[in-house]
Symmetry: D2
Subunit: 142 residues, 4 copies
């Protein structure tokens, strides 16, 4: 079991569409923020630092699926809850759930991500590497 | 079998992230644009007009999944190809694929959407209705 | 002199561009959030409520100018400070400044906005109205 | 006198806000796209290429002002027209105007930008350099 972390945000006017509700691509912005913040909250250094120490440049997304249950609108306080729900061979699964202030589930998402490093000699190519044990240990429930 | 429609766009600098590639929530912006443009290309009137004629205010998203195969960067010309791949009882499936100028698949997405109308007496509530036969006919392959 | 209000936010990976710094249109997102949050912080009801009570639907932007002094990048905590710096006849000036955690100015912006109401009989037209005295009173320094 | 270039785009649903019109930070996205596309249309190589040949990494924004005249909504075809209106010592002015399909001005913007190069030995610092004569020549009216 891994740690679970949360952050909160206020939905802004500009996050909403002509139907007056959050335009769904914005939920993916917040899921992505949840992933980055999760590792920071677990004590993993920033990707700039892991690039220097471990060669890891980040966790690109391979696959994602999301389910939208209830809308939100501007002024709403929402919470994004994230965890690593599974370590696989060369990938891992991040699960996110977003709740409103009443604790109701607005949407949930499962992302398959990989830890990536650069391919030597080609600054535009990257490849997946297994999750470093040091990072897995930092994410584990304590 | 339903019609398939495409539109093209140029990836902009601001669509890309510090890894120099398209930040993935932007692909969802383009999938959403693909859905709206699909119905227009099939000859379905705008949602403003269908609201007046049929009560249909649009096609909110219920569920989505996407797979990311290859990145794109700014200056790239990409094409978004969209179709209704399945009509279900009260929902339907839109499938999108995005290709680069070399014809390589960058990502693909399946969206479950519903046609929605307002709930009388409450301007903030909507409900799913079956796809109107007139809209299904417009989308069919000719 | 009017009240000054602040809110904080964390710059996210997706707010940054291939130059690794905040892509400037995002600062306008935050200036706009500052304007909406300012009136809320002063005790002005939401625009949904003022539409019912005063006919005011919001404060559309007429003119804006901004100066960018220092960049920010992801992970940075920044603060957006907003005030109404001038009431004019049918418009008013909102001034925003954004600071980093070290208190350094990142950018500043002056927006000319108007209070707007709908034109009766045409749901797509709006017109500027003088700032209601009740709203000016709420914004005044206490 | 310098060349003037235009590109067109369709306003999407997600570019619009709860007031049903384009949310103004999106106009700054399009002004920024206009600046990058302008140099490409004049025959200036991409910034990736000028970084290798001239050390120029792009044209960061220093100052901007915009005036909003008329709104746009989704489905509208709009055109962004851009030019370099002035070369200064270490900066230059880009002017943009956005029109709807009827040729009406929606908004206009003046940006002060600089050509920038990296500061040797510090990959996070950049400095302004005078506009290269080769680039000025490419932009001149022919």
């Amino acid at each position: 079991m891994n740690q679970v972390h949360r952050f909160s945000l206020t939905v802004e006017f500009g996050d909403c569409d002509p139907a007056q509700i959050v335009w769904f691509p914005n939920f993916f912005r917040w899921f992505d923020a949840g992933s980055r913040r999760y590792f920071i909250a677990c004590g993993v250094p920033t990707w700039q630092e892991t690039e220097a120490s471990l060669g890891i440049i980040g966790t690109p997304l391979v696959d994602t699926k999301a389910r939208f249950v209830k809308p939100a609108s501007y002024g709403d306080e929402i919470a994004v809850e994230s965890t690593v729900s599974e370590w696989r061979g060369k990938s891992f699964v991040m699960s996110h759930r977003i709740f409103n202030a009443a604790g109701e589930l607005l949407c949930e998402c499962e992302e398959v991500r990989v830890f990536a490093e650069r391919v030597a000699g080609d600054r535009h190519r990257i490849r997946a590497v297994p999750a470093p044990e040091s990072i897995k240990a930092l994410c584990a429930q304590r």
